[in-house]
């Protein structure tokens, strides 16, 4: 176990290093010149060159990357080109909101998806099953911007059940989590359904039924825990998929998370922030996958860590 853990941690660090190099290189190759953004449109060529020198952006790629890495190892993500503030300060201010939204989204998608999958599997072949599967398909395909705005318009503006975007209370969390959750729910519903159908076909389920156990007991005590196993592994990967939706959903609902920060930074070519958010996201994804892999054998003793 310790050996496995050590190996995985080293792998994760290498992955993060790789992400940092690739992202840095991509940003370096952009035709847009960040110095011009900072210097503004009224700057003379002399001012532009001076700023370029001060920020070290006249150095070759390797030197620039090396300096970035050195600072990174000391926990310094640099200063935003546009805002001039510490990137760590900007990210730390917004990270709790994103984490909260991720948790809310995972809860939503699991509740929705697992329920839908369970019901569809139990009523396999029926109209309910087909409706739920179509619904899951819609959930996966619908653009989150549209879904978010729709939910906002119906439930917040027209019905006033929830505040119109914003952050702070539980009722602020509901609609954005739902929007994010609907996408994941679609996937989980389908996975849960197939997994459940598989499990329900197993011999031990037939045995339990023959023993005369109540349907509820069979479902929830014997079938469900086994069906959920592959799902648990997915949650780790899911964090990655959620990261993508975060940008859009945070924009729609005015949710002060790192997705909004990333979006603005991309538009203004604010490289330090883009690097910072990418690294933080990569870290979260890598960590999520690592935890999922470690937890798996505890849930399913059949899985052995190699």
């Amino acid at each position: 176990m310790i050996a496995y853990l050590a190996r995985r941690i080293v792998q994760s660090l290498l992955i993060l290093l790789g992400v940092s190099v690739i992202t840095f290189a991509l940003l370096y190759l952009l035709p847009a010149d960040p110095v011009r953004q900072i210097a503004g449109r009224s700057a003379t060529p002399a001012t532009v060159e001076n700023i370029r020198r001060q920020l070290g952006l006249d150095q070759p790629f390797v030197i620039q990357y090396w300096r970035y890495l050195l600072h990174l190892l000391q926990g310094d993500l640099g200063r935003s080109y546009i805002q001039r503030s510490q990137v760590t300060e900007l990210i730390v201010a917004r990270l709790p909101a994103t984490l909260l939204l991720m948790v809310g989204s995972i809860v939503c998608e699991l509740l929705l998806g697992l329920t839908m999958g369970l019901v569809a599997a139990v009523r396999r072949g029926s109209a309910t099953d087909q409706t739920l599967m179509v619904a899951s398909f819609v959930g996966v395909s619908a653009p989150q911007f549209v879904v978010g705005l729709l939910l906002l318009y119906v439930f917040a503006v027209r019905l006033s059940w929830f505040p119109i975007g914003g952050y702070g209370t539980f009722s602020h969390l509901v609609l954005p989590s739902l929007t994010m959750g609907i996408l994941g729910a679609g996937w989980y519903a389908r996975m849960m359904r197939s997994s459940m159908i598989d499990v329900l076909r197993q011999d031990y389920v037939r045995t339990a039924r023959a023993k005369g156990l109540a349907r509820g007991a069979i479902l929830f005590r014997h079938a469900l825990p086994n069906a959920v196993l592959p799902i648990v592994a997915m949650i780790g990967i899911d964090i990655g998929i959620l990261m993508g939706g975060i940008v859009v959903v945070e924009s729609v609902f005015g949710w002060p998370g790192i997705g909004q920060l990333a979006w603005q930074a991309i538009q203004r070519v604010d490289i330090p922030i883009i690097m910072g958010v990418t690294l933080v996201s990569a870290f979260a994804i890598v960590l999520g996958n690592l935890l999922a892999d470690i937890v798996a054998p505890f849930i399913d003793p059949r899985i052995k860590l190699r």
């Binding site: 011009r36 503004g40 009224s42 503030s85």
Partner: protein, 548 residues
């Protein structure tokens, strides 16, 4: 004569002020209908980048900074007319190279300390200091000692002298007619040295100035709260107790919230998709204020690239574009333009007709220039709506005269980079990146975008137009410093722009109008909501009508 005039004006102004008392003088800028008090909520989509006047240069923080800080000069609210602000009076030497300002007594920073001439010098030295990396450094180039200070070789501008705590003198290397505008721009606003040194690069998040409001709260990514400055030197202002800027709000969500009465003004304006709907509703339309901006949208043609090096081709393009149709494409949120300057800019020529929309004549000109069957070219545009649609309309207009333009719709930064490359882009539609004036003076539309100084790699003169004769005329016009000769100077600038139109490096297409939608409780003159300088709202002068 000039000195006599200037000092007479100064003397009589002083006499008036002293005569009427230091506090209760008849202030034409105070609104008799305004009652002090009340809070308002403004929404914005993007984070407030910084509130440091030396750094902040986007249209969102521009007027926020103006409310936290003051400069020697300002503009009368809602207008483009200069007026002394922190300066009580000023004197311009007859040769136009020396500006002496008398500073008001008793102006306090938000931290309680009194502002003096030392602070003014410190603030401007700071902007010119290369370590600050200020985008406004170049505005002070006419002050003596600029070259050394900007290169980091001197510790400040030798041309700025603190005569006494309430008198400051600026010595220029050449007569500069725009200098008073430069004293009104954000980069000249006064900052307290001790606070800047305390916060360093983070001063932008902890601003301390002399303005009508002070910063009460900044929750990163969520809201910025301004509170009334009770010690503001201009008694009676501001009217509001508090302004809350809520960040991260999509324009369409902001509009929904306004319709529900949750906010007062959506800072990013009416989203284009909802514009017709809002304007078709009489109740909402009544709360929309429409005003001009110091902005022009234009097509640049790279005069160094064939076939745009032939003036006949450029003139033909001017006659091929159907500007009315393009304005319709954006729901009439602009007015067609026929010259580089916008109508609200001094120097705008009301009588100039420009090039007519005449595709037949355009084809003739093209044939004359040796392109009877047209030619192929590329049109660059920014990829956010409505610019791709406008680019398509331009493409169609060009096709009608035989010019086959392929559209390159890219991210803003990429188009800007292409424009700044001599071999980058033959034609660029400037929408989304279009020039807005830094200050309401005709020279601001020349230097960086049409003058030789801007035709450099990374510059903003995307047509790479460089006419040395016009540069000389521009310099001459800018040396007419005497305010009494302003009309003559404006006429010189009008002539310069008419000459530019003859050379036709650009096709001026339209001037965007600004539409500000406000809640019913907001009060104050309409022009405060479409203030050409304090964009979009002059926070110092607006009030709410429901104060108890």
């Amino acid at each position: 004569m000039k000195r006599f005039l200037a000092s007479t004006v100064a003397a009589s102004a002083l006499a008036l002020m002293l005569g009427l008392g230091s506090v209760a003088f008849a202030d034409e800028t105070l609104d008799p209908n305004a009652k002090p008090g009340g809070d308002i909520i403004i929404t914005y989509k993007d984070d407030v980048a910084t509130l440091d006047p030396a750094i902040g240069y986007d249209w969102q923080n521009w007027s926020m900074i103006k409310s936290l800080f003051d400069g020697l000069m300002d503009y009368k609210p809602g207008t483009t007319e200069l007026t002394p602000d922190l300066a009580e009076s000023y004197e311009i030497s007859p040769d136009g190279k020396t500006f002496t300002f008398k500073i008001r007594h008793g102006v306090k920073f938000h931290n309680g300390r009194e502002m003096t001439a030392e602070d003014v010098k410190y603030s401007i030295d700071r902007v010119v200091n290369p370590k600050t990396q200020s985008p406004g450094q170049g505005f002070f180039a006419s002050i003596e000692g600029y070259e050394e200070a900007a290169a980091g070789k001197a510790d400040g501008l030798s041309g700025i002298t603190v005569v006494d705590p309430y008198t400051i003198k600026f010595q220029l290397t050449r007569p500069d007619a725009t200098f008073l505008h430069v004293m009104a721009i954000n980069f000249s606003h006064v900052v307290p040295k001790e606070e800047v040194e305390k916060w360093g690069a983070d001063f932008g998040k902890h601003p301390v100035g002399t303005g009508a409001y002070k910063l009460a709260e900044w929750t990163l990514g969520q809201r910025v709260v301004f509170e009334k400055n009770p010690d503001y030197w201009h008694k009676g202002l501001p009217y509001l107790d508090k302004i809350t800027f809520e960040i991260g709000q999509e324009p369409i969500v902001a509009l929904l919230r306004l319709q529900k009465g949750e906010i007062d003004v959506p800072g990013d304006g009416i989203p284009p998709a909802k514009f017709q709907e809002v304007m078709n509703d009489p109740a909402q339309k009544a709360r929309v204020v429409e005003g001009g901006q110091l902005q022009t949208g234009y097509i640049t043609m790279n005069v160094t690239m064939k076939p745009f090096d032939d003036v006949r081709v450029r003139q033909a393009v001017n006659m091929a574009i159907n500007k009315d149709r393009i304005v319709q494409l954006i729901n009439n949120r602009a007015i067609p333009a026929n010259q580089p300057l916008p109508p609200s800019m001094p120097g705008y020529d009301k009588d100039y007709k420009g090039y007519p929309y005449d595709p037949a004549k355009a084809k003739e000109l093209l044939a004359e220039a040796g392109h009877p069957d047209g030619f192929s070219t590329e049109l660059y545009a920014m990829n956010t709506d409505p610019n791709p649609r406008i680019a398509q309309a331009i493409q169609q207009d060009l096709a009608a005269v035989g010019i086959k333009a392929s559209i390159q719709a890219q991210a803003q930064a990429n188009v800007i980079a292409a424009g700044g490359d001599k071999n980058g882009a033959p034609m660029i539609w400037s929408g989304g990146m279009a020039w807005i004036a830094d200050f309401p003076d005709p020279s601001n539309f020349y230097g960086p975008i049409l003058g030789c100084a801007g035709a450099v790699p990374g510059g903003w003169n995307w047509s790479w137009y460089c006419n040395k004769d016009l540069d000389a005329e521009a310099a001459k016009a800018d040396s007419i410093v005497d305010p009494a000769k302003a009309a003559e100077r404006n006429k010189m600038w009008s002539d310069i722009y008419i000459k530019i139109m003859k050379d036709a490096p650009w096709v001026p297409v339209f001037n965007e109008q600004r539409f500000t939608l406000k809640s019913a409780r907001m009060g104050g003159a309409d022009n405060l909501y479409v203030d050409p300088v304090h964009i979009p709202i002059n926070y110092d002068h607006v009030y709410v009508k429901d104060v108890q």
